[in-house]
Symmetry: C2
Subunit: 402 residues, 2 copies
């Protein structure tokens, strides 16, 4: 792959010829269709490749279902079209300026699973909620804990998030208060989009990850901590998470992440064979969380205890099938240092240590009007950086509860 495109790629753009992420865009003059981002432009794939059946569609799912060798073939062809200037005259009419198109939810989600794969996040939450006890639950280092979320409320970056209302824990003997969540939080996560399905009653091995997962995006799994504390024992979080989960519009294919692959942290418990790391599928992604424009955290994905390959192997070890469009997220990405924590609950230590913004205001949890942007970059070939773009969301007040 050459590193130069005949399409101008501005300095610092996340979308170099090494990234080539896939999304769904709405052109000014037509129906939504699949595109690839390059610099400040979006390539109309149906037009560039002459394949309307796959790409003149409002979701990536048809392409996702075509499998890994096809994903690689299309990536190779798009790379050629965008880097060999012999193609310029033919391809240029298929380019749209990114600021003139809308970006839509890139795939039709099937099931959504959220994991809990950061040891630092899980341990911090344990320390806050169960002080004096072991911070991690006994199974934590034996399997990647996960649970199903609501796929119907996955929304694309830029969608406003309505503050949820709900019940919270009452004072001793009282009735549970009902109202807007007062502890609305972010969770900076990384998401994985499944392309190739699997049959019920079979497993996807830890080594088969790249045959099933197409690509990676950014996730903000908005969480209402006060609703969660009242509802979650014994069956887990429900309304605290189900109101909205935001995803970034560009899916970075696994093939763009070869240089980002890294060994996961050393394991302190021997793993069952189905979870043993073969190839390294730790990922050296550097995340950044901005609140109203100010960086409040820089979580590193490198310290995640469980890899996405292990998450997928665990998800299917009981014979659960995969569908095209299945989506799973890592859980909050928190590193070992305080400035690497991926949610406000950790950053403010359960609301006790507010974050101060440059206008002098403070935050424990999110206020109406607050906007959160999560972005990330990763090592690319030859010392370059590739980018994931961003997932953005703003909090708006909900109804009055009547």
């Amino acid at each position: 792959m050459t590193s130069a495109s005949w399409v101008p790629v501005p300095e610092g753009s996340p979308f170099t010829p090494h990234t080539l992420p896939y999304g769904v865009f709405a052109p000014e003059d037509g129906a939504p269709r699949v595109g690839v981002a390059i610099g400040d432009h979006v390539l109309d794939l149906a037009r560039a490749l002459g394949d309307d059946d796959t790409f003149a569609r409002p979701s990536l799912n048809t392409f996702l279902a075509q499998g890994r060798s096809r994903w690689q073939e299309v990536r190779a062809r798009v790379t050629e079209l965008l880097t060999d200037s012999a193609h310029r005259a033919a391809v240029e009419p298929a380019l749209h300026r990114a600021d003139r198109v809308g970006l839509l939810m890139p795939f039709e989600p099937a099931d959504y699973v959220d994991f809990y794969a950061s040891e630092h996040h899980a341990a911090n939450i344990g320390r806050m909620l169960r002080p004096g006890q072991e911070p991690l639950t006994p199974q934590w280092k034996h399997l990647p804990i996960g649970y199903h979320g609501r796929s119907g409320t996955l929304v694309v970056s830029g969608t406003d998030v309505v503050r949820p209302w709900g019940q919270t824990r009452p004072a001793e003997g009282g009735a549970p208060p009902f109202g807007p969540s007062a502890r609305l939080d972010i969770e900076a996560e990384v998401g994985f989009v499944v392309g190739t399905p699997s049959a019920r009653g079979t497993r996807v091995g830890v080594g088969d990850f790249a045959d099933h997962v197409f690509g990676v995006c950014l996730v903000n799994d908005w969480s209402a901590r006060d609703l969660q504390a009242w509802e979650y024992v014994p069956l887990g979080p429900f309304l605290a998470k189900s109101f909205a989960t935001s995803v970034s519009p560009w899916i970075v294919p696994l093939d763009a992440l070869e240089a980002a692959r890294t060994a996961p942290p050393e394991r302190t418990e021997e793993l069952r064979p189905y979870l043993r790391d073969g190839e390294d599928w730790g990922l050296d992604l550097a995340l950044e969380v901005r609140l109203n424009g100010e960086v409040v955290s820089r979580p590193s994905f490198t310290s995640m205890y469980w890899t996405p390959a292990q998450m997928l192997a665990h998800l299917t070890v009981n014979g659960a099938s995969l569908r095209t469009g299945d989506f799973y997220a890592s859980g909050t990405v928190s590193g070992p240092d305080a400035h690497e924590r991926g949610c406000l609950m950790e950053l403010t230590w359960n609301g006790q240590e507010p974050v101060t913004l440059s206008d002098g205001s403070t935050r424990t949890f999110l206020q109406d009007g607050d906007e959160v942007v999560i972005s990330a970059t990763a090592p690319g070939p030859d010392g370059s950086r590739i980018g994931f773009g961003e997932v953005r969301g703003r909090i708006v007040a909900g109804g009055d509860g009547s």
Copy 2:
């Protein structure tokens, strides 16, 4: 509605002219399409109503999305066609013998939520797992506890269920064992199919239940208790439930259940306004659970603490949207008496009191080859009974774990 059809309805058939449930069938000579069950026959709706766009489809979703007034209009028309013998000559060619067609998954599931709405079930589980403590968690009588399940592994009645493998709790200090679940259980439940969607950021009121929910079916939410015990703290059940959930092929419309409506049990805690019962949406359904042909339980839905209208109001109170095809289940239906318990964990008191079958064999949990059938009836008009048919599933051994 008259009570007689010109189609012969055998004595004891669940599918009288008062039931008229909807499903998807595969005729011997064509593609899957929507049908209505009557006695031992299935009516091809596309052919009978001349509406291929809605009914010549492999799922109910298009019809579900058309909304309540359309559901009522079609039910009235089908009732007329099947009870007025003037239509016999025209309609008879659209009838298939039920034993000559295959029954498929009746709807394309969007999100799947499982509740925990039986006080007797929740209290029994509490007594077994937390002896000496309050059997119900503090929020139990303030809100219907629920969690998201895996919609991709909802399967239609008759589909074999592969015994899941997984990790279980280790002996003190040891490694977690890995193998086939040794505590595979049933959960006899009732499911609710959503037709009319709702917008994100809005709520569906407890009084709007019948505008959104199309109908009711039977559910067996197979559960691996040993996997669940090891994995479920703090984020809830995951692999213990995600391998398969069986549903009955016939969806009984709410309009068939007017005579089954009943008041829910008296509330001992004052409910928040969004959960206050308006119309009575308790349902007087009599379930029966058979294991290898022998009745092992007769759970009554009448004693369920939370109504399906309350479940829906709670599910959406945080602004979570509904999609056509959303599905939610009641959780295990257990009545106050020992013979009304809806799962083996309760029936055998956590495996301590095996069930004895007439061949002298005993069961604590399910063995390979065991077949479970859950059926139900409800009061119909004029002292009649209407039926739900059944949900059936057989356990088969899983792979060797390699």
